[in-house]
């Protein structure tokens, strides 16, 4: 197996991009990533794209061929594959690209992610997202996606004493980080009080506990580490690319307040990288809801089980804290175009590890972790990267 590096990265502005189609977003991010990597089209061996629900959001499937076509690669007949694992589609695209390069089957591979979510009304978008859960045995009885995370939150609060205010602190921190990120959907800071006064979605979760509906795309370019310096002065090395699965339905899990898929993927990733949680300088974790970040930092081993609630309020996860979490603003503030999120996390890691993250730069960042979840834990991915 060959070592794999990221030689270029790009990401569109996240938000409600009413003037732009899925195709426009793909082209925008593709050009950014290829210019950053300094590769030409005929050097590209393959393309993987994470996209959760083109069929529901823009009534378009066959996204693999579409994006290769939009990227001007159709005449080169570059193999292009769409992968899907709900909100972890981007993370899967990244890992499949890593496998393609590591195996020696391909040299230069693009890992992309895209979701265009605002071409349908809110109700249709909510229903499309609910398809990440178990359609026959959760959604059929009225489950929504926020409702599943709300049930995780309720039990976490009951069992570990996590408070409503502690959930809000996650959103406050991530909006603060997002306010320093030019691509972030939300640029405004919020307060705990504002979170607690926002409308209830699924008790105890409120609107400002939830990641938004977002349009966006991201792409990174991978090459074997041996060839990386040919393209980039500052390649980022991928030390581990791990993936795990669990039951589709939340009710079937061993423990409702633990995402065992995260625990399993993290264990594999730390083993591959020969590192411990203490060795990680910063992480992007899957905060589709505020409780998601709390559970993630526990399951990744950054804090003890049950201690995650206190982390944001006590500054442990702030930039400058013990383990800065979601410097990009996370899914909460930066936005969550579901298929693009896993790649955006890698993009943020590239900026941080190169020292190009501006006002939100984590000083001396050398090793970073990206954690991407599909559904409420049916799929999890953990990537570890270093400069």
């Amino acid at each position: 197996m060959r070592s794999v590096s990221i030689i270029g990265a790009g990401c569109t502005k996240f938000g409600e991009r009413w003037d732009d189609s899925l195709r426009d977003l793909v082209v925008e991010t593709g050009i950014m990533a290829l210019e950053d990597a300094n590769v030409s089209g005929d050097e590209i061996d393959g393309l993987y794209v994470g996209n959760m629900s083109g069929g529901r959001f823009v009534e378009q499937e066959h996204i693999g061929a579409l994006i290769s076509d939009c990227a001007g690669l159709s005449r080169l007949h570059v193999p292009s594959t769409r992968v899907e694992a709900a909100c972890a589609s981007g993370g899967i695209a990244l890992r499949q690209s890593v496998l393609a390069v590591a195996s020696g089957y391909s040299d230069v591979v693009i890992a992309a992610g895209v979701e265009k979510m605002t071409d349908v009304t809110g109700g249709v978008a909510a229903d499309a997202l609910a398809a990440a859960a178990d359609r026959e045995w959760e959604c059929f009885f009225g489950a929504t996606f926020p409702a599943l995370y709300a049930m995780i939150a309720r039990l976490h609060m009951h069992r570990y004493g996590t408070t409503r205010e502690e959930l809000a602190e996650v959103a406050v921190k991530n909006h603060h980080n997002g306010s320093m990120n030019p691509i972030s959907q939300y640029q405004m800071e919020i307060t705990v009080d504002k979170v607690l006064r926002s409308p209830l979605v699924a008790d105890p979760l409120r609107v400002l506990d939830c990641s938004p509906i977002t349009d966006g795309a991201a792409a990174v370019v991978l090459a074997p580490t041996d060839l990386a310096h040919k393209y980039s002065d500052a390649p980022i090395n991928i030390l581990a690319a791990a993936q795990a699965s669990d039951t589709l339905a939340l009710h079937d899990r061993r423990d409702i307040t633990t995402l065992d898929a995260t625990v399993s993927a993290a264990r594999k990733a730390f083993g591959m990288a020969r590192l411990e949680p203490e060795d990680i300088d910063l992480a992007e974790v899957h905060d589709a809801f505020t409780i998601g970040e709390i559970v993630a930092i526990e399951d990744l081993g950054f804090v003890e089980k049950g201690e995650g609630g206190r982390a944001a309020g006590e500054g442990i996860t702030a930039i400058g804290g013990k383990i800065p979490i979601n410097t990009s603003g996370g899914l909460k503030a930066c936005g969550h175009p579901v298929g693009a999120t896993g790649i955006k996390q890698a993009y943020e890691m590239v900026l941080q590890l190169r020292g190009e993250a501006g006002k939100r730069q984590v000083q001396g960042a050398e090793v970073g972790l990206a954690h991407n979840v599909g559904g409420c834990g049916g799929t999890a991915l953990v990537h570890i990267m270093s400069r």
């Binding site: 909510a126 045995w137 009225g142 309720r154 039990l155 209830l200 979605v201 009710h251």
Partner: protein, 134 residues
């Protein structure tokens, strides 16, 4: 809009809480499984009808639902642990102020939702608190 068979094939499970039981490891499954995750190909699965009495493991009250469930908001959704052990997701009909973790519930036959003006009316199981909880 879905065709009728999509619902039809689940009528025993949704109306009468028919799940499965693995004779080999004595574990019960609802929703039913064809393959026992403990025994896999060595499993011996049989149908099992659950009484449906159980306990609320965790819950939420939904204020913002998908279009099909909008008319029911706010409504309680819970993960319920049946007496035999398996857990399922279902609605609990009671005031949001009353529902709590550990509450004992029992099943009732109800309309779950309607698919628009002309679509299928879906029936199935919801839950209510047992006597003594309200």
């Amino acid at each position: 809009m879905s065709t009728v068979p999509r619902f039809w094939r689940h009528i025993p499970q949704r109306y009468n809480l028919v799940g499965t039981h693995c004779e080999k490891c004595d574990e019960y499954y609802y929703p039913p499984r064809t393959i026992c995750p403990n025994c896999r190909r060595n499993a011996k699965m049989e149908d099992h009808k659950f009484d449906g009495e159980g306990t609320v493991v965790t819950f939420t009250t939904i204020y913002n639902a998908t279009d099909d469930f909008k008319r029911q908001t706010p409504y309680n959704l819970a993960i319920i642990e049946l007496l035999e052990g398996p857990r399922l997701t279902g609605q609990v009909i009671c005031s949001p102020e009353v529902i709590e973790i550990g509450m004992r519930v029992k099943p009732v036959f109800r309309i779950l939702w309607k698919e628009g003006e002309r679509g299928i009316i879906y029936y199935g199981t919801k839950f209510v608190p047992t006597e003594g909880w309200v």
